[in-house]
Symmetry: none
Subunit: 199 residues, 2 copies
């Protein structure tokens, strides 16, 4: 998200121009101001700055650049929980102002994240690219989703069931078979507390 040297120059020029004139510069004026000979270069810069969320403008509109206020240094880690949404129904507002944050999931436990590859947890609605939030622990309870190390080699994400003196590691994908392993050969690395997805 950081700007490059040149990008900052472009940004500074535009803010300066708006400051001085009260309206935003055309691409050609920007080109002149920065001693650029091609408008394509200006266009590319503008687009990049837009992608970084530092500028805003509307497509094909002349002199429509807005310089956005510099992002507040510390982005919030806590979001307001506005209500519940169900298909077809209006948003059901929540009585009290609630919020949600990662802290609510991790508490004061020691937690790390893993990016999930593959589809072995798809029936659990955990899919490729998702991030599972894992508490570092050596033990797990019946039916929890765990990160387990089998025979010191394979790390997998499975549901954990103890059956006598063997462990059943159950994938959440109807097409995959459970794995049965003697307790002594399974080392639990952690248990899944939550999941985070980014679109």
């Amino acid at each position: 998200m950081a700007v490059t040297k040149r990008q900052k120059e472009v940004l500074d020029f535009i803010s300066g121009f708006v400051q001085r004139n009260g309206y935003s510069p055309s691409f050609e004026e920007i080109a002149r101001g920065l001693e650029l000979k091609s408008l394509a270069t200006v266009h590319k810069h503008i687009t990049n700055l837009q992608n970084k969320g530092l500028l805003q403008r509307s497509h094909n509109r002349s002199r429509s650049i807005d310089v956005l206020p510099p992002r507040s240094k510390s982005h919030p880690d806590r979001l307001p929980l506005m209500g519940r949404i169900a298909a077809g129904q209006p948003v059901e507002a929540i009585e009290i102002a609630e919020t949600i944050s990662l802290g609510d999931i991790i508490g004061n436990r020691e937690v790390f994240a893993l990016e999930v590859r593959g589809d072995s947890m798809q029936d659990e609605h955990i899919v490729d690219g998702d991030f599972v939030l894992v508490e570092k622990t050596r033990t797990a309870r019946q039916g929890e989703i765990v990160v387990a190390l089998v025979r010191d080699s394979e790390a997998t994400l499975k549901r954990y069931y103890i059956e006598g003196d063997v462990v059943r590691l159950q994938p959440s994908n109807a097409e995959m078979e459970p794995i049965y392993v003697p307790i002594s050969q399974v080392a639990i690395q952690g248990r899944v507390l939550g999941m985070l997805r980014k679109y």
Copy 2:
């Protein structure tokens, strides 16, 4: 996990540079600032600091170094990303330490959360009890998941497609039918940036 003397010097130089210039230094500038003759050395330092969770940057991106605020041990909002778990069979793949937090998803946008009720997004792997993270916006692009208010009464979570002058709102559940509504009767409330689940 503690930094060495040299590492602290590198770190201090980078923060100072960003402070002064508003953009992050290139490897060569770092080398000059620390009187190093090889960029490889700089590279190694950066990588080490990254692994200690003090810096963040993306591979091959120039001037993209971010100095991370030291995270509080008691209540972290940023989690170490330890690697990727290929849930199929294979082993755990570790690599350069990254981190993840809600801030990475929301950026500096105005975001709120909604708790999902029902199964209308189940094919999207969003299920009852999940929290969708929604950016407050009036517009959306083709195919994005949006919170839409139809005819001022029903709020729904659907994929958004413009088809001429009507809007198709596509549920992500094979058993549910899409809704077609004239553009004038649809008000977009926000678009979904991410999702959070708590077990």
